[in-house]
Amino acid sequence: MKKLVTPFRVGLLVIAAGAFLVTFILFARKGGLSDRESTKVWAYFKDASGLSPKSRVQIAGIPVGEISDISLEGTRAKVWLKIRQGVDLRQDAAITKRSESLLGDFLLDLNPGTEQSPPLENGGQIRRVIDTQGVEAVFESLTQITSDIQQVTGALRQVLGGEKGTGSLERIVENLVRVSDSMDATVRRNADRLDTILANFEGVSSDVRNITRSNQAEVGRIVDNVELITRDVREVLATVKNIVGSGEGEFKDSVASLKQTLNKLDSTLGNLDEITRKVKNGEGTAGMLLTDEQLGQKFSEAVSDVSEFATRLTQLQTEVGLQSTYLVSQGRSKNSLSLRIIPKPDKYYLLEIIDDPRGKVETQVVQTNPPSDGDPVIQTQKVTKETFKVSLQFAKRYYFTTLRFGLIESTGGVGADVHLFDDALTLKMDAFNFAADELRYPRLRATLRAQAFDHLFVVAGMDDILNAQQRDSATQRLIAGRDFFFGGGLFFTDDDLKSIITATGVPSVR
C-alpha cells in the first residue's frame, strides 16, 4: 500500500495540472469562424495600424466576426474579414476602425448596410471605409488647442521675455516697493491730517450727491454749461494747434469764443454759489441731509451695501473649459466651449456653446397646392440642421451632490452630479429635450468624468440612453438614440490666467 502512495500523489498532481491546462486552453480558445460558417469580405484601409488578425468586428457592440488576414497592396492595406453567416451584408455596408481605450485597443465597427442595396457576395469588397481614428482625433484636437496656447505664451515671452524684459520688471517692482515705503511713511506722518482731509472729502461728496438729487434742474443746466465749455475749450485747443501752421484770424475768433466761455463759466459759478448757499441754509434734500441725522445714517447704510456688492464682484471666479468627445456610433467628435461663473463655492452658472454632430431636428410643414381643383397636399418633413447649441444652467451644490437646471443643448433640462474621491471622479446625469416629437423618451445622458491632471480631464459615458437609434436616411447620420462617447478636455480658472500673465508679463505697445 505504501508503494502506491507516491505514484498516487504524483498522479494526482499530473491530473490536476492536466485539468488546469485543458481549462486554460478551452478558456483561451475563441473558436474562430470556419469558412463554412462565415462570409469572407475585404476592405481597403489607408491606415491599418493597431489592427491584427483575430481583431474583433462588431455591430452595435456585439462581435460578429474577426479579421482573418492583412496584406499590403500598393500603398493601402487590404484587410480580409470573416463575418458570421447570419449577418445580412449589403453593398452599401460601411466599416469604421476605432480604438476602444486610450491605450490603442483597436476594433472594427461594421454597419451592414440598408435593405434597398443589393446583397454583398462572398469575397466582395466593402467600399465604405470611414477613416476616423477615435482617440487620435481627440488628441489631435487637444494638441491643436495646446499649440494655440503655446503660440500665445510664446508671443508674450517674445514681447517681454529675455534680460531686457526681466530687467524692466525688476525695476518696476523696485519702484513699487520704494513708492509703497514712502507712501507708508507719509501716511504715518500725516495720519491726523489725512483723517481730517478724508472727513472733509466725505462731507463734500455727500453734499454734492444731495445737490444732484435736490437740484436736478439746476444741475442739468450746469452740466449743459460744462458741456458747452468743454466743447469750446476743445475748439480753442484745435485753433491753437492750427495757429502753428495758419494765420491769426482764427486765433482772434478763438479768443472771442474763450471770452464767451469765460462768461458762461462765470454764470455757472454763480449758479453753483446759489446752490451752496441753499445747502448751507438747509434748503432742499442736501440741506436736510446735513441737518437730519437719520437720513445721514440711511445714506451710510446704502454706501455699505454698495461696498458689499463690490466685494462680491471681486470674489467672483470664472472658469473657461474646452471639451472634445468622440461619439462611437456617430463616428464624429463633439466639441464644446464652456464658461463657468462661480460667485460662491457652492453655486455656479454654466454657459456652454456646443458643436454637436447630431445637429438640430426641426419639423417643417409643406403645403403643395395642385394646379387645378382639389385639396392642397400637406406634408410634414423633418430637417436636420448643423447649428451650435447653447446651454445655460444654474447649479447649486449640497455636500457631494450638485443639482442643475436650465437650458441644456438649447432645450429645457435638469441635471445632477455626484462628486467622489475629493471631486476627482464625477458622475453626471442630464435629462433634457422632453418635448421632441422624434424621441419616445426624454434624452438622458450619463457621464463619468475623471480628473487626470490639474487642468486635464477625461470623460466617458452614454448619451440618449432611453431611445433607440435613429439615423438620417440621406446622410446616415445619427440624429437620436443611444451612443457611447469618450474624450477629454482642458479647463483654466482665472487664477491660472493670472499665473500666466505674472510669469510672462503683459505685452505693451512700443
Partner: protein, 271 residues
C-alpha cells in the same frame, strides 16, 4: 676568493598576466561546464532508454520534485498574481482602462512569470537538495561503490532526477498559472471593484492557447536545464564537505542564470 653575489628576488606574474589568466580560466571553465552538461544530457538520454527502468526511483523523484513543491509554488503564484493585479490596476486607472488588468496579468503569467518563478522555486527547493545529495554520495565514494556493484550511477541516480525536473516543472507551471489568476481575480474584482464579466471576457479576448503552450514549453526547458546543472555539479563534486557546499552554490547560481538566459532565447525564438 669567492664573491657572493646577491640573488635576484623571484617576482610573480604581473597583474595584467593574472587578469588574462583569470579570464581565460573562467572561459575555459564555462565552456567545459557546457560541454560537461551536454555530455551528461547525452548519457541521460541513452540510459533512459535502457532497462531496467527503475520506476520506483522515478516516482520517488517525481514526488520529491513535484508534489513536494506544490505548496511553495502555489503560494508564490497566488501572491504574484495578487500583487501584479493590484499594481497594474492602479496604473490602468490613470487611463480609465482597468478592463485591461485581466489580460495583462494573464499574458504575463502564462508566458513569463509562471515558468520562470516555478523553475526558480524548484531550483531552490529541489535542485539544491539534488546537488547536495549527489555531491555527498560522490565525496563519500558511494557513487564508486555503485559502479563496483555494476550499477550504472547515471541510470540509477541521475536519470530519475532529471526526468522529474523535466516533467514536473510544466505541471507546476500550470499550478502557478491557476493560483496566480485566482489571486488576480480576487484582487481585481473584490478589492478593486472591476466587473467580473469585464475581467473574464477581456482576458478571454486577449489570451490565446499558444500563450499557455509557450509557458508549458518554457517550463519543460527550464526544468530540464535546472535538473541537469544541479545533477552535473553534484555528481562531479570533490574536496569533501567544503567541495559539496561550493558545488551547491555554483549549481544555484548557474541554474538561476540559465533560466533567465534560456527564457530570453526561447522567448525570441517563439515570437
Amino acid at each position: 676568493m669567492s664573491i657572493d653575489t646577491p640573488s635576484k628576488p623571484q617576482r610573480g606574474p604581473s597583474i595584467l598576466v593574472q587578469s588574462v589568466e583569470g579570464v581565460g580560466q573562467g572561459l575555459i571553465g564555462f565552456v567545459s561546464n557546457i560541454g560537461g552538461v551536454m555530455s551528461l544530457l547525452v548519457d541521460v538520454v541513452r540510459w533512459s532508454l535502457r532497462r531496467p527502468l527503475r520506476l520506483q526511483n522515478l516516482f520517488a523523484q517525481l514526488d520529491f520534485v513535484g508534489v513536494g513543491s506544490i505548496f511553495i509554488v502555489a503560494l508564490t503564484g497566488l501572491f504574484t498574481g495578487m500583487v501584479f493585479a493590484f499594481q497594474s490596476s492602479t496604473a490602468f486607472e490613470l487611463f480609465d482602462a482597468e478592463s485591461l488588468v485581466g489580460p495583462t496579468v494573464a499574458l504575463t503569467l502564462t508566458r513569463e512569470l509562471a515558468p520562470v518563478f516555478s523553475a526558480l522555486m524548484i531550483t531552490m527547493r529541489a535542485g539544491s537538495a539534488m546537488c547536495t545529495e549527489l555531491g555527498t554520495m560522490r565525496v563519500t565514494e558511494q557513487v564508486d561503490a555503485l559502479e563496483t556493484m555494476a550499477v550504472n550511477p547515471v541510470q540509477y541516480l541521475l536519470v530519475p532526477r532529471i526526468q522529474a525536473g523535466l516533467f514536473m516543472t510544466p505541471a507546476l507551471t500550470m499550478l502557478f498559472n491557476t493560483a496566480g489568476m485566482g489571486g488576480a481575480y480576487v484582487v481585481s474584482v473584490v478589492v478593486k471593484g472591476i466587473s467580473a464579466g469585464t475581467f473574464i471576457s477581456r482576458t478571454r479576448q486577449w489570451m490565446d492557447p499558444m500563450d499557455v503552450w509557450e509557458g508549458i514549453i518554457k517550463g519543460a526547458i527550464f526544468g530540464l536545464s535546472v535538473a541537469l546543472i544541479c545533477c552535473y555539479k553534484g555528481y562531479n563534486a570533490s574536496g569533501g564537505a567544503k567541495g559539496v557546499g561550493q558545488a551547491t552554490t555554483e549549481a544555484m547560481v548557474s541554474s538561476a542564470l540559465s533560466i533567465f538566459i534560456l527564457d530570453f532565447i526561447v522567448g525570441v525564438l517563439m515570437h
